[in-house]
């Protein structure tokens, strides 16, 4: 185990709780750029608009509180071992930014590069995994194929017995992958954006849009109308509620995605383990909780909760893979609302409305993309042209047929 030290009690290395990191200004009547959604993506976009492009007349509108949606509900896994070139480019761009983000933000985000294992449990899993490792290598991403014995060396608590119903036949391993403290990431971006003069306005729900012909001229909110030169949607599961107001159809469906944590435990789990086949993923947070999740609930839902039988199945998989978890207690479970695309890849790009930019469809994997997306989206807003990393992810791919099918590497069944 590389990342744990038994002499330090769990949580001792955590920073003190945050005091006030940003102002709570009244909204101005007009901004150059209005970003809808103060989650990770919205805040990162604001930060990079100021830092990379000097655009500071920006408001980030949030209907509830900052980082209170999927940003505080995800399982914080960061990796870039996706199959296709398009996905590799954006996720690896993001991972490189994660590696220096703490210095960039001047704020601890507890990014821990403890690696990720993606287990294979069938011959088809093995073939797909080896193919993905080779694809990753061609894209300059660290990836290895591990045998069951090597899996056991990286993560001793995984049950590699070949007697299991779905035995571990090997795993892909990305050593640079890891986890970060999601709340601190949101707060770090928010603090930097606020310092740059960007207004973060909470408790401000968008209720409509102002348009002039095919051009967006502003938003209507619960705190009055706000004029905007450009409007950027970073609203994840709520995106289509917004685009419906414009009659704009987006090919995403909102689903509950559940996650759960155990009570605080001694450090037992040195890495991140994901299994598509028996379907669970597990890491151990810095404080000591086991953080677990799996696939979305099958039906559309905005309720931020899911069905119990879904997590019951995940727990069965977790206990089979990690017998040491059998006597751990589940502390709490929750759900986010994730917007899923037919090809399990995001939609980022321009829209038929001039000045309206779309960022949605990240489904179950948006957290890891936070800095890379923010960087690329800020580029698109500043230049009115997509950054090369996000150019393939426009809405037009559903017409051209150039889909980016990441159902295999997305890690989560949709």
């Amino acid at each position: 185990m590389t990342t744990v030290d038994r002499a330090v009690p769990p949580g001792a290395d955590l920073p003190e709780h945050a005091d006030f990191l940003w102002r709570n200004p009244e909204p101005k009547r007009s901004y150059d750029v209005v970003i809808v959604g103060a989650g990770g993506h919205g805040l990162a976009t604001a930060h990079y608009l100021a830092k990379n492009h000097g655009i500071r007349d920006v408001a980030v509108l949030e209907r509830s509180w900052l980082g209170g949606g999927n940003m505080c509900r995800n399982t914080t896994i960061i990796r870039s071992n996706y199959l296709w070139d398009e996905s590799s480019a954006i996720y690896e761009h993001s991972l490189k930014l994660w590696e220096t983000l703490e210095e960039d933000l001047g704020y601890p985000i507890l990014f821990s590069q403890r690696g990720v294992l993606n287990l294979a449990h069938s011959l088809q899993d093995v073939r797909d995994s080896v193919r993905r490792v080779e694809a990753n290598k061609l894209n300059g991403i660290d990836a290895e194929w591990l045998t069951p014995d090597e899996v056991k060396k990286v993560c001793p608590i995984v049950n590699t017995s070949q007697e299991l119903r779905y035995p571990v036949l090997g795993a892909t391993y990305q050593p640079r992958a890891g986890i970060a403290r999601h709340d601190y990431v949101a707060w770090g971006f928010a603090r930097r954006a606020d310092e740059a003069g960007i207004d973060i306005i909470q408790d401000c729900a968008v209720t409509g849009f102002r348009t002039a012909g095919d051009r967006i001229t502003g938003v209507r909110t619960t705190r009055g109308d706000i004029a905007a030169g450009k409007v950027v949607l970073c609203a994840a599961g709520t995106t289509t509620v917004l685009t419906d107001m414009l009659g704009l159809r987006i090919p995403v469906q909102s689903h509950p995605l559940q996650a759960l944590v155990s009570e605080l435990l001694e450090p037992v789990h040195p890495t991140v383990v994901m299994s598509n086949h028996v379907h669970v993923y597990v890491s151990q947070a810095h404080k000591g909780e086991l953080v677990m999740g799996a696939g979305v609930d099958p039906y559309n839902g905005y309720g931020q909760r899911g069905a119990f039988h879904v997590i019951e199945r995940q727990m069965a998989a977790a206990v089979e893979l990690f017998p040491v978890f059998a006597r751990a207690h589940l502390l709490r479970s929750w759900a986010g609302v994730v917007d899923v695309c037919p090809d399990a890849s995001p939609v980022v790009g321009k829209t038929p409305y001039e000045g309206l930019y779309l960022n949605c469809g990240w489904g179950t994997g948006g957290f890891k993309a936070t800095p890379g997306l923010g960087w690329s989206l800020a580029h698109m807003i500043a230049n009115d042209e997509p950054h090369p990393c996000i150019a393939p992810f426009g809405l037009d791919r559903f017409v051209t047929g150039a889909l980016i099918d990441e159902h295999g590497a997305a890690g989560v069944a949709h």
Partner: protein
Amino acid sequence: MQLITCPYCGPREEAEFHYGGQAHVPHPADPGSLSDEEWAHHLFFRDNPRGPFAERWVHALGCRRWFNAVRDTVSYRFHHIYRLDQARPETP
């Protein structure tokens, strides 16, 4: 676990059912005449409302028959369940 009332079998546990997405999406009358854009919308674009939603379900581990339901996507409550040959009931 939520009970779903199959129109043929009566109330059964949610785990016996599979979800089929938006209901009342007709196959194009003249597929050959569709533009690429129209095909994209037919294949990939579905409503995603916050609130009542007419959708398809199948009683996969029971009678294996498809039916429609109007369900609230926030409360997850089923308002109406009806056979495929019935029209969508009035709101909600």
